[in-house]
Symmetry: C2
Subunit: 337 residues, 2 copies
Amino acid sequence: MVTLAEVAQHAGVSASTVSYVLSGKRSISATTRQRVEQSIRDLGYHPNAGARALASNRSNIIALMIPLRTDMYVPVMMEIAIAVATTARMHGYDVLLLTGEEGPDAVRRVTGSGLADAMILMDVELEDERLPLLRGTDQPSVLIGLPADTTGLTCVDLDWSATGALCVEHLAGLGHRDIAVIGEAPAVYERHTGFAERTLDGLRSRARETGLRVLHRPCEGGYDAMAVTLARILDERPGTTGFVVQNESAVEPLLALLRQQGRAVPEDVSVVAICPDQVAVQASVRLTSVAIPAQEMGRHAVQHLVAKLDGRGSDEVVLIAPELTVRASSGPAPAAS
Amino acid sequence: MVTLAEVAQHAGVSASTVSYVLSGKRSISATTRQRVEQSIRDLGYHPNAGARALASNRSNIIALMIPLRTDMYVPVMMEIAIAVATTARMHGYDVLLLTGEEGPDAVRRVTGSGLADAMILMDVELEDERLPLLRGTDQPSVLIGLPADTTGLTCVDLDWSATGALCVEHLAGLGHRDIAVIGEAPAVYERHTGFAERTLDGLRSRARETGLRVLHRPCEGGYDAMAVTLARILDERPGTTGFVVQNESAVEPLLALLRQQGRAVPEDVSVVAICPDQVAVQASVRLTSVAIPAQEMGRHAVQHLVAKLDGRGSDEVVLIAPELTVRASSGPAPAAS
DNA sequence: AATTGCTGTCGAAGCGCTTCGACAGCCTAT
DNA sequence: ATAGGCTGTCGAAGCGCTTCGACAGCAATT
């Protein structure tokens, strides 16, 4: 293993000079710099991460806590994780992958050991038990998701409430009066995941303003669960002509079932999905949808974190404005019969 | 930040004693041990990762390289990543997430800097350019996936060739004579990803043995692409009664299209999928499928790596035997008309 | 000519841990 | 009684890096 000292010797300078060439924290003459850089290349030198971390008290690692459970939004999680990893690399950071499994202990461990310089938390619940720890440490962090109380925290998220409102507006504008919301699995609501509840709030309050009737039903993914849920909805509100779906794995089953029952999309019923664009485009009917900007959230989170680590940036809540793309699954409400 | 020295002082012993309590590398009397452990708890001590890495030349980190592209198997990747992370934690390791983006450079960087003690590579191509580097270093590694030449490497993978064979056998046993294979996107084959080609090999050679005719068509995911692909297949081989699908995002479109054309599953055509069980169960027809054992692969990979790091274990190729579960999408071939 | 202020480089200290050799104290076998 | 072997603990060295203060050399200012 090549060390700083060996590079220094090879280049005929002192170790500290090599260090300053690497960090740029003091000015170095052009000739010396070049000599050192050449030696680094010749010897194939890579700074030792542990030594660097010990001496500088910086690991150049960002910890990313992803949920262990895979009951929702797997592709979104993955996309965020990848965006975080690539963005972090662009800023010279590596990413440590933590699963939610350890819970608050993971926060303690990472903070205490100096393993990572900062953390990104995903899948934040409204009253998340990791938050007190985060507030009690000076380690920078960013949440992807919005807890109930955001004081002293930095959060990045899609504006779910506005997302819900946007879906309602779109359907209201098309003349629909009775709409059903196919939600995430019941467990997601039970554990008070912010995004699901906020979406619902947004939907409901805009529905109240526009005079729409809303029926909300959580739904496990899959065909069978969707069949049961749909039957119940149509039983309770036969006049339903609009659907908002916030559950990737219910989208295709819903479309299949509607088709099977002879309800044409978008002639008889309209469907608006809240899902990544890719899903909306690949569905059997090109879906009118509000995109979940996974990449953007990941990128934002890292950028905020890096700003904090550089001493810039402060606590703040960034809500990304939702965008609704009209495709082939929504249209005017059928004339009342 | 609490240090070893502070714990030592608090417990009234020397620093080295605390270290030995932590590592267990020398015997310590019960009373001393307890006193030290109590001090650790009292002070909330966590060993500093950088210092430990520097002194012991071990970071207790495993690097996981996941593919950047998301054109295939996202849930599988995610499941593997999570399995890797949880299993690694059980053995006292953390996981560093690297995206394929950096390519071979990432291997050099991690190896050179001592950031990680070992690596797991996913999405291995048949002639992967990272392999020479891996062979040229003494850093342990495990591949998830099988390159063309495995000498000097440890690999874990589903036995894709046997998987292909198994699908053919199942359909052959049901009397099907003409089968079509809906494959991954063309790009997957173009970059010579092992699993796709091996599956095809397994399919074809068993088809030869059992006298089946096989038509293979790569297919982008989604409804539109599937529609085109299916039309071509039925045009070329109208007598096709069996389908093998190795592309998650083509499964549901295929089922929808068959339904739409009045071909009943499994009465008229049989469908066998190669996908995670969850997908098979959630589809609109419960699918006969060969499961992709994502968790098992991740777990295996970590276990091998840990064995190597402990000085046990050696290079070896582990192929997981495929298992076909019969569900509702396959049945006897219709009588020839 | 003397002072001041840069710029570029160096030496040394120290980050918090692991680990090696030393050794005190005790028990067992001669 | 003595040598030898354990067991449990300690001190010190050192891992490879960053960073602080020092300072030599030179240019610009008085």
